[in-house]
Amino acid sequence: MAKMTAEIDDDSGTGFLLWGWIVVAALNLGMVTVSLAMFAP
């Protein structure tokens, strides 16, 4: 089974997707954690 290693010709914007996902995922979990800390039942 071929694994995904090939480079594509035009990868402009893919860095944005990678770093964007990392930042947004951290931001999302951070915001939820803060909300939970504020409203713990």
Binding site: M1, I8, G13, L17, G20, A25, M31, V32, A40
Partner: protein, 570 residues
């Protein structure tokens, strides 16, 4: 704008082909989730029939006790389990379609996740039918009055565990796709190469993990409290339960929103054969907006809460409108895909609309789902504003918008996917293509009638979650007329459309013509002879403009109606 990446992509097998070629064991798991989801939806529709009878004043059959039990089961089956199962099936489809012949990271983990979700369903239904008439919210202190309440919280913990496990399995499948894990370029390439819909799922994972985290934070103490293991006073416990609940419940709404849009990208390709003329990175980048803007906007569920300051509510209200931006832009891109594809085949400025595959039930599901989403979305924009939300939140305006959103939009678009999924997995033709052709239009129109009359009923003051709205003859006469239209016409026609869907899908499974024909009996992709290069999509701007106008119109209308009420603001 057609770049090399798009050319590479065009040469690869389609998403449907990759799923069709996937391993039978993975397909079996996906089918188990799909069937469990369909059974949950069938249950939700069956219970909705009882609710329609109870809530249609002309029938005079209002029954409080039966109503709360049916409403609790209906909402848990429809909003929790139908979505939990079908969205897990979509996640598995996204995972196994990553590459030709790709496998799920762990099939055992997938089945364990399924077992947890199915156990949650059983525990919840036992709880409801043992007498926990707590509605799906199960708020304390109300929940204290029902001995079976712990089963509701326990079921929710099971389904949260199932959602976590299947999302983890999906993420692990995506990660194993990258062979050279130390290469940043390989990770970027992976995200650039995957289908838009799969990237949407990747963006939904942080939101799902947030939901699961909040669910554990909420329901473990709630379960212990309901068992008498925590001695906090019910009223005190209720305050923070409600705030935490809304953090979770708010985020839950956006999973169907994202999955629905992801499914729309798949359907537009499958039905019209159109590809994106805009850079895929833009569509993918828009999905990144959801995890960023969704969590802080939970305030809009708490506009009537006196413990939250006016300033926070105004900020929450303004931020809430942001959550529409990615959905609106996706709507533009998807409509643009259709327009560019059709106009490349030589059709004129508006003439292309007439030539769309309106008779294909999956396309009808897509287009009517998007239309219902736009109109019901206009209603949500009224409900999430600080001044209007506090007045309307306890009225029938809430079920009047949520049903077209979750059934007429998300579920209808999922139904479009299911029409394809059943024919592909069962290798059969669609049974009853004429009935299937009617179903999406009927469901959408029925729910728009429900939304229109129900919203007017809500604006007139009809309360939600009440079996009898007559109040012994003290209620205004208009209430009965509006609810007769909402439930008697809108509700009944929605049930009919639901019955049509289940008849077509059920009969296709067991009696669809085998082997399947090339056309799939009405599901064939539209053949578009490419006669020219066309990359502009002006008509696709129109739905977005109409949406903004509808929001302004509905808002002005809501303020106008409320201005005539004997209520003082401020």
């Amino acid at each position: 704008m057609v770049n090399n990446m798009a050319n590479n992509r065009a040469q690869r097998p389609s998403l449907a082909q990759q799923i069709a070629a996937s391993h039978p064991a993975d397909q079996k798991l996906m089918a188990a989730y799909g069937i469990a989801g369909l059974l949950s939806l069938a249950g939700a529709f069956a219970l909705a029939a009882v609710l329609v009878v109870i809530k249609t004043p002309a029938l005079g059959l209002a029954n409080g006790e039966l109503y709360y039990r049916m409403l609790t089961a209906h909402s848990i089956l429809g909003f929790v389990y139908w979505f939990a199962f079908i969205q897990a099936a979509l996640l598995i489809a996204g995972a196994i379609a990553l590459r030709h012949g790709g496998r799920l990271w762990s099939l055992k983990l997938g089945w364990l996740a399924f077992a947890f979700t199915a156990a949650g369903l059983v525990v919840n239904m036992v709880g409801v039918f043992a007498g926990a008439d707590v509605l799906y919210t199960a708020f304390p202190p109300l929940a204290e009055s029902f001995p079976a309440t712990p089963l509701i919280y326990l079921g929710y913990l099971f389904v949260a565990a199932g959602a976590f496990l299947i999302s983890f399995d999906f993420l692990a499948t995506v990660f194993t796709w990258v062979e050279r894990k130390s290469s940043l370029q390989a990770w970027k390439t992976m995200l650039g190469e995957m289908h838009i819909s799969t990237f949407a799922a990747v963006c939904a994972v942080p939101l799902i993990f947030s939901i699961v985290l909040t669910a554990f934070f909420l329901y473990i103490p709630a379960f212990l409290w309901s068992m008498g293991r925590i001695s906090t006073d019910a009223r005190e416990f209720a305050l923070n339960f409600r705030l935490t609940y809304h953090v979770m419940f708010h985020i839950i709404h956006y999973i169907p929103a994202m999955a629905m849009i992801a499914a729309a990208y798949v359907l537009v390709e499958l039905t019209t054969g159109a590809g994106s003329i805009y850079r895929e990175t833009v569509a993918k980048g828009l999905f990144l907006m959801y995890p960023a803007v969704v969590p802080p906007t939970f305030v809009y569920h708490l506009m009537a809460d006196p413990s939250i300051t006016e300033g926070t509510k105004i900020i929450g209200s303004a931020l809430s409108l942001l959550v529409w931006i990615p959905s609106l832009l996706h709507m533009f891109i998807i409509t643009g895909m259709m327009e560019a594809g059709m106009r490349s085949a030589g059709h004129g400025l508006f003439g292309w609309i007439r030539h769309l595959p309106w008779k294909n039930p999956a396309f009808a599901s897509l287009i009517m789902g998007m239309t219902t989403f736009g109109i019901a979305g206009g209603l949500t924009a009224v409900l999430l504003q600080e001044q209007t939300a506090s007045v309307l939140h306890g009225t029938f305006a809430v079920p009047a918008y949520i049903h077209p959103m979750v059934v007429g939009a998300a579920s209808l678009i999922y139904m479009g996917i299911i029409y394809y999924a059943v024919t592909i997995c069962m290798k059969r033709d669609l049974w009853g293509p004429r009935l299937a052709r009617i179903q999406p239009y009927l469901l959408s129109v029925a729910l728009l009638v429900f939304a229109w009359a129900g919203t007017l009923a809500g604006y007139a003051g009809v309360p939600r979650r009440t079996a009898d709205i007559g109040f012994g003859g003290a209620a205004p006469e208009s209430w009965q007329a509006l609810m007769n239209v909402t439930m008697g016409i809108g509700g009944t026609l929605s049930l009919l459309a639901g019955a049509l869907f289940f008849a077509v899908i059920g009969m296709t499974m067991f009696a669809g013509r085998k082997p399947a024909s090339e056309s799939g009996s009405g599901l064939a992709t539209l053949a578009l002879p490419r006669t020219r290069e066309f990359v502009y999509t002006p008509t696709a701007l129109i739905p977005g403009i109409i949406f903004v106008l509808v929001v302004l119109l509905f808002t002005a209308g809501a303020f106008g109606i409320m201005g005539n009420r004997p209520i003082q603001f401020g």
